[in-house]
């Protein structure tokens, strides 16, 4: 009977989604987020579409796709939603150059216990001693949008795609007339 219980417990602990503590050695800053837990771990940078569907272009899609972190300790595929910049920026620009590499990351696991997501604050690429900040988005954006970047100010106010949508459909997305009425009432 005891052996049966032990086997059941071992099976439970072997499940990759059982919560593990990856906080050892983490220097991640708190952002006060839901379900936040510091997490530093080693992982391979993978193309999620390749992992799930066998659709595998070279270089993990060269920045065109969402990338994942396949954690060495338990083979769990962690989805990094966010980099370390507090300005609406994802993590693909930080990870794409590291496609296929086994790297070390430090940041925050966030969200519900059943499906944690990740915010990367620091990255230590393969063969590199020091961690580097995960803040590549804005420089990549400026390189891709030189005229918009030259305007100065926040990238998200100047992004041509965002500006085009707002000019066409307004800040609420409901049309310029609705926007006009709302703004007149709100401010």
């Amino acid at each position: 009977m005891i052996r049966t219980l032990a086997v059941a417990l071992a099976l439970a602990l072997a499940s990759p989604v059982v919560a593990q503590d990856f906080s050892a050695g983490s220097e991640a800053s708190s952002w006060g987020l839901a379900g936040e837990a510091p997490a530093r771990f080693e992982a391979q940078v993978v193309d999620i579409l390749c992992e799930l569907a066998g659709d595998c272009p070279p270089d993990c899609g060269a920045g065109a796709r969402h990338l994942g972190l396949k954690r060495t300790a338990d083979d769990v595929l962690v989805l990094p939603m966010k980099n370390g910049q507090p300005i609406f920026t994802g993590a693909v620009a930080d990870l794409a150059p590291l496609c296929g590499q086994t790297i070390e990351v430090d940041g925050l696991l966030v969200g519900p216990e059943a499906a944690k997501f990740y915010q990367i604050q620091r990255i230590r690429p393969e063969g590199v001693t020091e961690f580097q900040p995960a803040d590549a988005f804005t420089s990549a954006w400026a390189e891709a949008n030189p005229e918009a970047a030259a305007q100065g100010g926040d990238w998200f106010r100047n992004d041509p795609g965002v500006r085009g949508q707002i000019e066409q459909n307004g800040y609420l997305g409901l049309g310029l007339e609705t926007d006009k009425a709302f703004i007149a009432d709100w401010f």
Binding site: V162, I166, Y171, G173, F187
Partner: protein, 154 residues
């Protein structure tokens, strides 16, 4: 009749079985209806509760996050969030403007559903229907975040 410890062991194993199944499942073709959302703000709570970071109140921020390369999700009517890996054949970050055109929209998507480690992913083959923005949350919350709409110059 089984003894109490054996029953406990079976219950323990049964309780853990769904978690083991979460690690990966066979892909399944589905049609799902819901709202295209900004997943970071929805799951992190960085700008408030989930009701405030959807719909028209959060539309501008949803544009910012989609343009910033944060995964866009489809929040289904049953509360499931599907991470969008492709939209009608387009890689999401190669053609980010495509995602911007459907930000906050309520749509019906047809595609392949994958589950890995508790996360739902959707490779959208077709957008079957698009009702536009129907979740008028600005009427309750105003703009979220407050600075999403710049204050008009006096």
């Amino acid at each position: 009749m089984q003894s109490t410890p054996i029953r406990l062991a079976i219950l323990c194993a049964m309780a853990m079985a769904p978690q083991a199944a979460w690690s990966a499942t066979e892909p399944e073709r589905i049609q799902v209806t819901g709202e295209m959302i900004d997943t970071w703000c929805y799951f992190s709570g960085v700008m408030g509760g989930p009701d405030a970071v959807v719909g028209s109140a959060h539309h501008t921020c949803a544009l910012w996050c989609a343009a910033g390369g944060i995964p866009v999700g489809l929040l289904a009517d049953d509360g499931t969030v599907y991470m969008i890996l492709k939209l009608e054949g387009a890689d999401p970050l190669a053609e980010a403007d495509t995602l911007l055109t459907v930000a906050s929209d309520r749509l019906t998507a047809d595609g392949m559903h994958h589950v890995r480690d508790g996360v739902n992913y959707l490779i959208v083959r077709d957008v079957v229907a698009n009702e536009g923005i129907v979740n008028l949350t600005h009427e309750t919350f105003g703009p979220v975040p407050g600075f999403a709409i710049p204050e008009p110059a006096q």
